[in-house]
């Protein structure tokens, strides 16, 4: 393969070399177990403490409010299950139709075992209706679980306003913040969620590590039962390299927030404008003004996403698709369907997600190669009767 043009950062990210540097000593030298009685193991504890402070720092939390987990999925599961266990009299869950499978499938299973679930829809822009949220939260609602930013479209959800509703109604609020971390500022002081999930590999840290924020005063019932690690809130010997890596990644994420919202945002905008202008029958999925600075989801009509990705792959371009064929399921993405994106567009939707490693040159290459890729597939496609679908709309 030629050089890689990586525009799939909502799937996973490149580990920052500084993160790797930070992890090496605890892999090579300080391999002890912090639970041990000897000093060699004991001093590893300070690495965990430093990392906990850094993770807490990114969201303006207290270090003791952070529990290390194996990643976003475990954090999501632990938050929701804790809320249900700690309030056994409440049997209702509120979430949205566009959540990550870590929430959707957990909730589906809970529903089958007797909990009642309200799944909020989104409008054509992918946005939630606050009035609908207010109506959905009941006296027996144990937890409301809503993502901070959607992984496919980057659309943001109004968690601050939702927090006001859950506080008023006495329900707990969980934010799946996996996608927003490092892309936009998020403070638990400003947005009073009760639980928050974040993941290492989505912010240039290692895979297999994440964290769950649990607001002080919120009762927590552990999901992973074992030793006394994490103050008894998550059993299992600590993933020290992962924890150290996550700490460093969070520290760096805070430093790069400005760049994400200036340089990366400008690159994303240029990519998006260029593609929409140079290729006819394309449209943007999701609310243009209310989303992550690194993400764009563009739908190309009359062509199918997997075919687009494989042709892009020939140029080393890595993106992802909301099409059915890529995932092995037969229907297009649940997010695009919930938004009512027409099938003609949903099958041909491509998500580009940039990062601080994305360059001008890479955006140029994608802008140069994509029109030819789409044209090639449209020539093959039987759905092009209306004349000029292949012709560029304007000269870009």
């Amino acid at each position: 393969m030629t050089t890689v043009i990586y525009m799939d950062n909502n799937a996973t990210t490149r580990v920052d070399p500084l993160v790797v540097q930070e992890m090496l000593p605890v892999l090579e030298t300080w391999y002890g177990n912090p639970s041990s009685m000897h000093g060699f193991g004991g001093q590893v504890e300070k690495y965990i403490q430093q990392a906990r402070e850094k993770v807490a720092g990114l969201i303006q939390a207290q270090p003791r409010e952070i529990i290390f987990t194996s990643g976003g999925t475990e954090s999501d599961n632990a938050a929701i299950l804790s809320a249900l266990k700690s309030q056994p009299e409440k049997r209702h869950i509120v979430t949205t139709r566009v959540e990550h499978p870590a929430v959707l499938n957990l909730v589906k299973g809970l529903e089958e075992s007797g909990y009642s679930v309200t799944r909020l829809g989104v409008d054509r822009q992918g946005c939630l209706d606050l009035e609908e949220v207010r109506r959905a939260v009941r006296r027996d609602t144990a937890i409301v679980s809503v993502m901070a930013a959607n992984n496919e479209t980057g659309v943001l959800f109004p968690l601050k306003e939702i927090a006001a509703i859950t506080r008023e109604k006495g329900a707990l609020l969980h934010a799946d913040a996996v996608q927003i971390m490092g892309k936009l500022p998020f403070s638990v002081q400003d947005i009073p969620v009760d639980f928050l999930s974040l993941s290492g590999h989505k912010l240039h840290g290692p895979k297999g590590i994440g964290a769950l924020y649990v607001r002080k005063g919120v009762r927590f019932r552990p999901m992973v039962i074992g030793g006394h690690q994490e103050k008894g809130r998550r059993g299992g010997t600590e993933n020290i390299p992962g924890i150290v890596g996550l700490g460093k990644a969070c520290e760096l994420a805070a430093l790069h927030l400005d760049e994400e919202n200036t340089r990366v945002r400008a690159l994303r905008d240029r990519l998006e404008k260029g593609l929409l202008a140079s290729i006819a029958h394309t449209r943007l999925n999701g609310d243009k003004d209310n989303r992550l600075p690194n993400t764009t989801s563009i739908a190309f009509e009359f062509v199918e996403g997997e075919a687009i990705l494989l042709l892009m792959n020939e140029f080393g371009i890595c993106a992802s698709s909301g099409s059915a064929c890529t995932s092995g399921s037969l229907e297009p993405s649940h997010v695009l369907r919930a938004m009512g994106v027409p099938f003609t567009y949903a099958h041909g939707s491509i998500r580009f997600s940039l990062s601080r490693y994305t360059t001008e040159d890479e955006v140029d290459t994608v802008l140069r190669e994509t029109p030819g890729i789409i044209e090639k597939l449209r020539i093959l496609s039987p759905f092009k009767e209306d004349a000029s679908v292949c012709a560029p709309r304007v000269n870009a």
């Binding site: 003609t344 020539i379 093959l380």
Partner: protein, 282 residues
């Protein structure tokens, strides 16, 4: 990422016979934008009902495009009757296999061919059979289509049926009905003869070709060579294997006995019981 064979990649990146044929003698159309894949097959047919040109337009994933390309390559030069025997397995085999969840792409190819042949013969292909026959409403899959997929491909699970026909891949409401139909069809298949015979009867063209070549290579040629002779495979037309004798066999008075008594017997024993061997002089 899908584990596509090099052949699939080749036919996706450089599809053969892409585009419409002006004044086609037959057109077959299956699928829709909503379903996520669609194929329009164009045929030029001569006065002997031989397909002289075949081309396609396809909306779909890489394997759908590659299957369409393979289909046109496989049917070019064949008569409509010969083409009719093509199964979805032939298309998949031609491509060196497809991932299981993508087998429906090869099924789509076979359906487009059926539709085109019907179109040529002036038979209206029903867009969708009577409402009562549609089992999967998300993808409009009929009971007949599922039945055919089970029998042609020897399917044994509901998951396989979804991979081959898409049925059950949407809301999932019809999964119980599919399971019931599967049980019924499997029972019928069992009744209609021992599995072994069934398997042989369902050899695809490509499989038959491969097996014949292997038997010739491993079983027949070594024996003939011992007597200074040799044999060459010229072509396979349905179940008729055309061969040319070489070396000492050419003028051997016993050659026709060799052909029927040895070559044909071996092929019937090891490939299919109703194979015919004929000599061509080339």
């Amino acid at each position: 990422m899908w584990d596509y064979t090099d052949k699939v990649k080749e036919h996706f990146l450089h599809p053969k016979n892409a585009g419409a044929i002006e004044n086609a003698d037959a057109v077959g159309e299956v699928g829709s934008l909503a379903c996520g894949d669609a194929l329009k097959l164009y045929l030029k047919v001569d006065e002997n009902e031989r397909i002289v040109e075949a081309s396609f337009e396809t909306f779909g994933c890489a394997s759908a495009i590659a299957s369409s390309s393979a289909l046109t390559e496989l049917i070019k030069g064949k008569t409509l009757e010969e083409a009719k025997t093509l199964s979805n397995k032939d298309i998949a085999d031609f491509l060196g296999g497809l991932p299981r969840q993508k087998m429906h792409c090869s099924v789509m190819g076979r359906e487009a061919l059926d539709a085109a042949i019907n179109n040529y013969r002036g038979i209206e292909t029903p867009k969708q059979e009577l409402e009562g026959d549609v089992l999967c409403h998300c993808f409009g899959v009929t009971e007949e289509k599922i039945r055919q997929a089970i029998m042609e491909n020897d399917l044994t699970t509901v998951e396989d049926i979804t991979s081959y026909t898409k049925a059950g891949g949407g809301c999932g409401e019809c999964l119980d009905d599919i399971a019931e139909l599967l049980e019924k069809v499997r029972a019928e298949m069992k009744q209609n003869g021992p599995a072994e015979e069934k398997k042989r009867a369902s050899l695809s063209n490509v499989q038959r070709m491969q097996r014949v070549m292997k038997v010739l290579e491993d079983e027949i040629r070594p024996s003939l060579k011992q007597d200074g002779g040799d044999i060459k495979l010229v072509d396979i037309e349905g179940k008729k294997v055309l061969v040319a004798l070489r070396g000492a066999c050419v003028n051997c008075p016993a050659s026709s006995a060799t052909l029927k008594g040895f070559v044909e017997t071996k092929l019937r024993e090891l490939v299919e019981p109703d194979i015919l061997v004929e000599e061509v002089r080339s």
